[in-house]
Symmetry: C2
Subunit: 234 residues, 2 copies
DNA sequence: CAGTGGTCTAGACCACTAG
DNA sequence: TAGTGGTCTAGACCACTGA
């Protein structure tokens, strides 16, 4: 059976297996055939079905265990990839003109909440940067950054007059790890003014803390103007 | 060179390559050696370095082209995996007791905005479901769903009295594709009352539209109580 | 202990694409 | 057209883990 038409690729097998899952041929919790059997069915080697199975497993559709075999996930946890782009790029991609304004840039003591999160002692001064990104001249996103100077040699206020902070950091102080939190807050006055929105209105706040290896780089707070949405897809 | 100590695995090679990128041995835009050369350097086969390279490419660190070779991404776009969990599971995972209340469940005409997004004609009635999820008895998340009845045979209000909507759907009307939008809104009265928060306060709104193949399943709006955050990490 | 997935090797052919 | 990555095969050994 299965005329040798043209050779099967692992994506073909992936598609076929996924169809069996999504159409209910294999139900959540079911065990599916071993790699060797599937390989025989598809007329290919174990490596090839293995690649398809592995891919479905990392996507959350299958669970695999040595000796236990492969089963269909009972509660597939889908993951939506949320992109962390260069802001100017994102604005341009939506067909608008991106511009940038540096609001503040100085070294000083951060609020306690911030220094606590950054794990800094009471004497730890950091650089504070406030910047505004505009789309077609309209405020799009306000960002507050607290940056640990030790982690970024060569950062000067002058540089940030011309280069958006995020781009400078990406090329000069790349992160290796970051945590991200997304929440809605009532816009305080400073935020509302910058984004030209009413005080107390709903703003989307993205807080990101980043590290390079074990070294804390800094804390970033992004405030999005009303109407701005984060989008993704599964 | 490179004493054969113990055999290298592809994750070892991945780690080593990533280190070369992150420490700046290879800078953004640089071309890196061909697979064959790397294989020789690491003393393994092309398949093994290939797997490491492929993985770094899908993670956004490398860009690969046939004949063009492999280069370090100039603007690495990091992707943060945002999980879409069963709500009760998420609540339990945070160490709290999850409970659920069905508020409304009836068939009728949806608001115009909704029927437009669902691609329904003016005669398209849908099922509307409002439900509240609580953590330790405190309102955690309110959800409004508009579900196309054709896509979900067997859905009855009675069922939803006992089973959380999201779990029922996961097992009975699995989605194959979804779009997700995240934004902050001023809570309207209905939302504010359900979440026990002030009217006009900031609420986090997640809107999700889902399909099974080409068939629209429905539209979901999740309102998160103040203080609730979506978290992820890179 | 035995069975399953995880990994590697050595080789081959092919698809794409830069020059 | 020639060089690169993408894929497959056939075989092997090993790590984990359920019975």
């Amino acid at each position: 059976m299965s005329g040798p038409g043209s050779r099967l690729e692992w994506t073909d097998i992936r598609r076929d297996l996924l169809a069996r899952i999504q159409t209910g041929v294999w139900k959540p919790g079911d065990s599916i055939p071993r790699e060797v059997e599937l390989a025989a069915q598809y007329g290919c080697t174990r490596s090839t079905v293995g690649r398809a199975l592995r891919d479905l497993a990392t996507a959350g559709f299958l669970e695999r265990r040595r000796k236990g075999g492969t089963t269909v996930s009972a509660n597939p946890v889908r993951k939506a990839p949320l992109e962390v782009p260069i802001i100017a790029d994102a604005i341009r991609k939506s067909g608008k003109v991106a511009s940038y304004r540096l609001l503040t840039c100085h070294i000083g003591m951060p609020p306690r909440v911030v220094s606590a999160r950054l794990g800094l002692g009471p004497a730890g001064a950091v650089m504070f940067v406030a910047a505004l990104y505009l789309a077609d001249g309209v405020p799009h996103q306000l960002e507050h950054r607290w940056l640990v100077p030790a982690a970024m040699p060569g950062l000067e206020a002058e540089v940030l007059e011309r280069t958006p902070v995020d781009e400078w950091l990406l090329h000069n102080a790349p992160l290796t790890r970051a945590t991200i939190e997304i929440e809605a807050i009532d816009a305080p006055k400073a935020v509302a003014d910058a984004l030209q929105m009413p005080v107390g209105g709903a703003a989307l706040l993205v807080t990101r803390q980043s590290w390079r290896q074990a070294q804390v780089i800094g804390l970033l707070q992004l405030y999005h103007a009303p109407g701005v949405k984060l989008s993704t897809a599964i």
